[in-house]
Symmetry: C2
Subunit: 333 residues, 2 copies
């Protein structure tokens, strides 16, 4: 009988996750009953938000269960169909990542057209990271043409899109990332106006240098000392869409908050947390704008692709070391 | 020659201000030239925001100058008029507080009608604290009927209005203050649903107890550990209008920020600093609503009045000890 590999949560991580928190399990590829599909995933996503689901805590999405298969965005192909509306060979976006094969009754699937964009794009620029960057920058961040934008985690899946979207709106864009190679990538490949390596030098000094006219929109991906320093360089009426605080996700002790938070008052800063799935009303605008930019060759889509489900846990762990540039993707087929 | 007393900034405070930072100076009462008024202040305001102006730092309002008279809201009477449009006996709101007499060319004065409300009301419910509470709660805080509201510094000039405005909008209202007497005042005089003394017990436990259904709008007056604890009890899509952080104004070391700030993301919280003078477009609504409530006897106006300009510095210093209930006012006449 053919086998399907999948990754289970072996135990809940304390602090930084390790490979011991994951188990590779082989199961029989199941047969679809009437009304079911058998789907084979081609690509799966690993994302920083998954760290939150490994915690046994109430949040906007239920926690992963120990001993159960993990979940996440994926793009798969219909291999067998006993369900009207789906044909063998159809490609579908699904939330049953971290596994090779699965059965579906069709709920929660979204067909994707492989002729429009590479399949993996639905996990990045055309998927959750894309809508996250779009909603955060334009709706939560209320970005206006010509403003000063700073994005942390700028070479990541979301950050690399934030910077490009803002440039396309005629803004000045600066960013931070964790290596010289990424800084070069931001400036030379993505067209950032300025960028710096947050691991070197004084944060506040570096921010002042790359954003000499202050910051109107700070797209927050990292939290910690970066937020503290950025607040000092924000302009009056600035906005901080808070997408993530990856520097704090593995903390075992409470992370000190920004000592500069009182700057919110004299500068009248708005700081707002958001999650992409609250912003699906933007989908039409998103598809028009981002689909259009993509078609016109105006967006550089960067992916770090690792091959084989055996590498999925390492790919996930790598997010916290910054081993990815652009979207981290696991290719399963 | 008649004398006018005024208070000068003797030196910039380091940390908590002391009486040594102030000097009482006597000057001759000047004579108005053509186009000028001589005004005698009846009431002057002391407000926490003035601590910020004692710092030599760029902000939304220029710093006070050492050796110069302080400034702030006041209500005075026209004693001599050489300026058309102003008659002897007119009462005017002005920003020339901290002094008994002054000359004016009429700029920045606003006539007030003593038959509508007591003069001191223009420094409180009908003045800056009133519009601050109104704008923060309704515009920045986007308060909806029936929501759960928590306000810190609840017995202060702004907080005492915030709680009453929210009750008038059909909300559940809880607050914190610094003495048993104030807690009784909040519950029995102002009609708060619940209140606690922040100096006793565990903040997070107390907040959970007074806000069992969570918090939709947290009106922030104090900062520090209160904000850190409140973030844990905020509801999804909650709003935090940030009016002040009085607990941090005298800090000589950076105050630790809220270690719970990452809660902004899963709870999609909006936190926004604001200053009343950005919200003067609300003046018509404010006058209709707050003027109406006042006229209908629906608002309790609490003031702590000290007499004589000699007491002004102590009144100001008392703000940081919570010696006031409601608006702290200095009566000069």
């Amino acid at each position: 009988m053919p086998q399907s590999k999948e990754i289970h949560l072996a135990s809940r991580p304390t602090g930084r996750p390790t490979k011991d928190n994951f188990t590779l399990v082989e199961v029989d590829v199941p047969s679809p009953s009437e009304g079911q599909l058998l789907i084979k995933n081609h690509y799966m996503s690993v994302d920083p938000y998954m760290r939150g689901r490994m915690r046994d805590a109430k949040s906007y999405i239920p926690p992963f269960q120990v001993g159960q298969v993990l979940e996440g965005g994926a793009v798969g192909e219909v291999i067998e169909s006993n369900l009207e509306g789906f044909d063998v060979g159809d490609f579908v976006f699904n939330m049953q990542g971290w596994r090779e094969y699965f059965l579906s009754d069709g709920k929660g699937l979204r067909k994707v057209d492989p002729s429009i964009a590479p399949l993996s794009a639905h996990l990045g620029v055309l998927g959750m990271p894309g809508i996250t960057a779009y909603a955060g920058l334009f709706e939560v961040g209320e970005l206006k043409e010509g403003e000063q934008v700073f994005v942390s985690g700028a070479a990541g899946a979301v950050g690399s899109l934030v910077g490009q979207f803002a440039k396309l709106k005629g803004c000045y864009v600066a960013g931070s990332a964790g290596s010289e190679k990424k800084i070069t990538f931001l400036k030379e490949t993505l067209g950032f106006d300025a960028a710096f390596n947050y691991k070197e030098g004084n944060l506040h000094e570096q921010i002042k240098k790359v954003c000499p006219k202050g910051i109107d929109v700070y797209f927050e991906n990292v939290g910690g000392p970066m937020l503290e320093a950025v607040l000092l360089q924000m302009n009056n009426f600035g906005r901080i869409p808070v997408c993530g605080m990856i520097s704090q996700y593995n903390a075992t002790e409470p992370t000190p908050g920004p000592s500069t938070i009182a700057a919110l008052i004299p500068k009248r800063i708005k700081m707002q947390g958001f999650i992409s799935f609250d912003h699906h009303h933007l989908m039409k605008d998103f598809t028009r704008d981002v689909g259009g930019w993509l078609k016109d060759g105006k967006l550089h889509v960067e992916e770090t692709i690792v091959e084989g489900i055996e590498q999925a846990a390492d790919a996930f762990l790598g997010l916290f070391d910054g081993t990815n540039t652009g979207k981290m993707i696991v290719k399963l087929v």
